[in-house]
Symmetry: D2
Subunit: 416 residues, 4 copies
């Protein structure tokens, strides 16, 4: 995987990045039957087939239709079917009905991908005057597709989880044994600091503007909370103790009957979970995953600490080396002691709000992040299903506090 | 298609009937992609793949497991996945989650069918002492499978209707032109009559016992209500006139926004509907189809008449020759003037209740009809998607008064 | 209470009937605080204040406004507020929002009643030419008001049941002790019989036309099912045994968590229920009450019998003397051995459908019963909250099969 | 109304404050009939009777039961009925069922108030050693009761709004005419500032700890947005233009059919609204009220500006004199040019989150604010229904972004 450089991509780099990204998506879909690619188990999730088509539509809609005179789509109706939420790009198909679209078939969608890949290859190799503009849009489109790679995997896991046969996405393989690591903290001074993306290298609009903010001294744990620790919380009655919870969190947990992370169940005194490798015993020293903000917040209160703010996380994370991810083998790796990247997304206590001075860009592409800046919380880092090229200290992903189907975990913080 | 005889099937006949029925199901599924066979667009409907598997499970559960020592299913978990509602046959998968079962794939299900067909062929050819009992169960299983053939087609149509591309199940073919037929009636004397299945030939438990009942003189229309007549009802404000409707019907129509039969829309002053042959202009002199009981009942009131009782329908229908059906070409045929079979199921005003003296048979097979005898209405006849072997004067099918996705129409009656 | 005669009421009789009925309603409301009269605990139930006003509106709308030139309502907007469902009498207030109407206050409603009573008294004493027509409408209005007397009491009980303080409508008084009665049956010949209201005396439209029908020989229990018997059903696992239940009934019972009749709970090995006299131990030999059709039907199957048809009930009931009711003391009386009147309404297995030849009368009053002829079941008899003047062999009341808040019980039948 | 001093209240002051606050609540309830005091029109709102009882329970539960040996409540079950959400104070009655509690009646609740007032008077006059602790709890209880005074009024307005008769809480009186004020802004330097409650005088836990934060230079409007300006937004298509809205806001507006502030309707080209004085023409130059966060945020985007942060508001508000409120006459006063207090609560763009170092106090009283710190937004200032004693620069009230039934408006801000 080509890592985007610290400066805008040159056209030739963009072409490589495009091919790598497109190929990686197809590799992810390879083990799936057409039937698997139809699964839509809730409105928040989409079928794998839809992800394959939507990421393709993005290049077609924002690049090919704009810049290739006479460009013909294989089917003009795909724009309606595969637009996700871009109001300014026209009407779109109801999100909760994506699982009811059997045609185009998976084979048709693969032909659509090939058609667009060809047209993009031609465009990017044509030595055009607007090659730099195209390269910038391609870079955005590739980052967009990488986000959907992670969604494809997490949405699929959710879909498969409704099958009583508990099929695996991948065959189970031996997982490296992890060992218990003591919980240690690193202190940070804080102060009047600068936060957010400055310049050089790709970033989404919501990562800027870079701005001054005041951060009080704090300490951050050197590793995420583990399954072993989470089980201690459960055994201490964490899921039955209302005063540990936010009021909305408690109401949600009661209504949904939560008593463990998503996909967990107990079998003969052993906790199991449903994973991409099928049913697996819970790995005690791996980071806990598939917990909501509500659960993470209650855990932190129980532990006598708190979640970090996103500013605290960014200050700490920018000094920590980013390792490659483990998407290829789908395995949660053993804890390396100190890493902040590539295991789980980590809930912060920060609502997803605009940075001071934030203005969305004009047009449909400007709908990318700004309109979601309400009711969601920022997570930082990157999970085992996040491409390495997506990981950077300023990256802000965001989910609703009740959501659990993503690879979501937590790391503790405290005041100094 | 072998028509069941007027007496119980001999073992050899049963084997033919079994092969014919199984082959017909597969012929229905042939034009479908695996993706099409995953569609479940509402709880009432099931994926085509599930129909293929469930009809197979019926033979396995009630015949092979009971009578073949050492019979091994390809997967013991299929019994959980493919039981529909037989409480006494064990727990079963949630009905509204059938569309989330991507594995077994269509290919796996076809192998399951072949496995059961082989085992059934062996059992039925073995010259066993219980061959007559087996033949009777096979006959029931074939009738059960024919019911699911019709459901497969109607459920598929419902699933495809959510696709903005409006794909056709079959390629559109020329439809024979139908012409306007005057609305005439035939009078019947009624009196103290006998109703219900007596003996000789197959019937479901709910068709008996044959019993005496009193029917006042009545007249029954010689053909179903047509699309032309339905459009007149619509243009007269039928869907906006509360006093024409039952109270529950009006509430449903308002809540659902009904202003035409299911699958209809207007385009440049022409009514269209979504059919198995894709979008088609409404054929004015074909019987109206996809109307609920509520709509049918309101129409009859508007027309100054009423729906027939099921007893009236049976008295008239038993004197009318049964023609073969048109499932093979999927086309609604022109009105022949007087037929009561093979166009649409016809709503009667009779709630589905037990006949005097009705007792369900013991055991899981006894769950067939008895437990549905509340809140539903009887329809008589048979539609363009009903195998001819399913049509007989005593046959009672039943649906809820709000349901529309089956091939449901109506015929007028009046007092004399 | 003046019992309506076997012929139409003479004007003077109608005036007495009117005064008696209006006074009885006010007597029922007397123990209530204004706060009690605001309670609306579900859409099916209405506040006591609304019943007081709606029954008044009926006389105003269908008699005074039609026949008294220059009649002025105390408030023209009451017609909107207090119309229940008469579409042809104009728009009306949303049914589920009746509990949100604090003004007019109870005092205002009492003034409205007095105003209408005065006007009606004047009209009926004026010696008009249309006195017979008015007497007929008054008789209908009084029967309508008596229906609402029963609803006022049952709706109030439902409203009070949500109060953790469990307040009594009436102070608890000693209840006469009832004793266990053996379950005996009386046989009936059936045959080709006539059913329904003929002429002479008041009846609702749905009680006719009188018509011929065939009834097979049957036997009917001499008393309703008792609480003692119901507890035996519960202890035998009746509420946990799916094969005893209709499919819709089982689904409802599971969704609602039914494990006993409405208002029952167990306390230190004793069954209690919430009644008009507050919390009371269950009286073992009184008829079971507050059971749905689904429960009644499952009970009958468990007992190896069935519910009667409404025709069977009418044939038996017309030979049984009607006793006065016990509305004045609110107490369930000891079983007298053989009575069919004044304890509980008794579910029949007959859906509420039109009799052959039924035609609703024209105009708003014609909305009385016809439009409810779907999805409901007929009950026969009359409960402890039914005025004696409401009880007659042809009377058909009807409720949905899931409803329980009325005084609903059952009596067993069997084939002979 | 005694304004709380800048230091903790002395016991004698607390007694005066208690009497004033209790009397003010009863004055608010005086115009109401018992029927009005039963209204609960949604789960978010409570009946006036409940507010009267709950505020009383607070003193009983947290002071009398703790400190008066042998204290006897008029009814021990009131603790269950009138606890709002304090999990640690024991189980409580379902919030959405408060409107179904007719007993205790209003008269009973008034007796409960008198009982507790007597006991409190005795306790506070007894010259006890813990008089200072009691005074502090009394002060909290009075502030709590003042919050419920505002809720009583806004919940009542919501309840009355469902009555087609549109009854007024107060008789309409002449409203002073307001005149159009130009929209001007005042600039503020920001910088590294201190925010939050320090010491001296009453404050809720969530107003502290006082802490440093960095605020960039900004400008704040000198008055709230007016109805005249809001109508301009409506006429410019504000409610139909998706790109102006947050994604969740747009979904809510569509689902709820919003096209104007709550309680507004158009009648012969004039906008009207339902108010405490009944239906009134919209006063063009009064602040707009009853708009949600979603609407306020969309308005600000349309106006090319933004909502202030709560820190910006506090910086500006602490330099603005606080005027008395207008609760006594229920009238929205003419705009005075520059005031930030006593008209409407003003939405900020700040989610309600804990200040750095925030820790809830131990025990049930600690449930006051902390557990609501998710999914809500901070409003600052105070409305026409806010007692003056509630207004202070550090006060943070909070509501969900979809809520509109409170007196909620907005003021514009912009970057400098």
């Amino acid at each position: 995987m080509t890592r985007p450089a610290a400066a805008p991509l040159a056209p030739a780099q963009a072409l490589d990045f495009f091919h790598d990204t497109r190929t990686a998506t197809e590799r992810l879909a390879k083990p799936l039957a057409p039937e698997d690619m139809m699964l839509q188990s809730m409105t928040d999730a989409s079928p794998a087939k839809w992800h394959l088509a939507h990421t393709t539509w993005f290049f077609e809609e924002f690049i090919l239709k704009e810049r290739v005179p006479g460009y013909a789509s294989p089917d003009d109706r795909f724009a309606f079917l595969f637009n996700s939420y871009y109001v300014q790009a026209g009407p779109r198909h109801a999100r909760d009905k994506r699982g009811l679209v059997s045609r185009p078939t998976v084979e048709d969608v693969r032909a659509y991908r090939a058609h667009v890949d060809d047209a993009m290859g031609g465009l990017m190799s044509a030595g055009r005057d607007d090659a730099d503009d195209i390269a910038a849009l391609v870079e955005l489109g590739c980052h967009h597709e990488m986000q959907h790679q992670e969604l494809l995997v997490t949405d699929l896991l959710h879909g498969l989880s409704f099958n009583p046969l508990m099929p695996a996405y991948r065959d189970p393989e031996p997982v490296a044994v992890s060992s218990e690591q003591p919980l240690t903290f690193t202190s940070h001074d804080g102060g009047l600091v600068e936060i957010g993306h400055a310049s050089g290298g790709f970033a989404y609009d919501c990562e800027g503007p870079r701005h001054r903010t005041y951060v009080a001294p704090f300490a951050l744990a050197d590793r995420p909370v583990t399954n072993r620790e989470w089980i201690a919380f459960m055994e201490a009655g964490g899921y039955e103790t209302a005063p540990l919870w936010l009021s909305d969190g408690w109401a949600t947990a009661q209504a949904e009957g939560w008593d463990a992370p998503l996909y967990w169940w107990k079998q003969e005194d052993q906790w199991w979970s449903f994973t991409l490798r099928g049913p697996q015993p819970v790995n005690l020293d791996a980071p806990v995953v598939h917990v909501s903000y509500y659960e993470a917040e209650a855990y932190a209160r129980w532990a006598g600490m708190r979640l970090p703010t996103e500013q605290e996380w960014e200050l700490a994370g920018r000094d920590t080396p980013i390792r490659g991810n483990f998407l290829d083998d789908g395995a949660l790796r053993p804890l390396p002691g100190g890493g902040m990247w590539g295991d789980v997304w980590e809930w912060t206590q920060s609502p997803f709000t605009p940075y001071p001075g934030f203005r969305p860009v004009e047009g449909a592409i400007g709908e990318y992040n700004g309109k979601f800046m309400v009711n969601q919380f920022v997570l930082r880092g990157g999970s085992c299903a996040t491409p390495a090229a997506q990981m950077r200290p300023t990256y802000r992903t965001f989910f609703y506090p009740h959501q659990r189907w993503q690879m979501l975990g937590l790391r503790l913080a405290k005041d100094v």
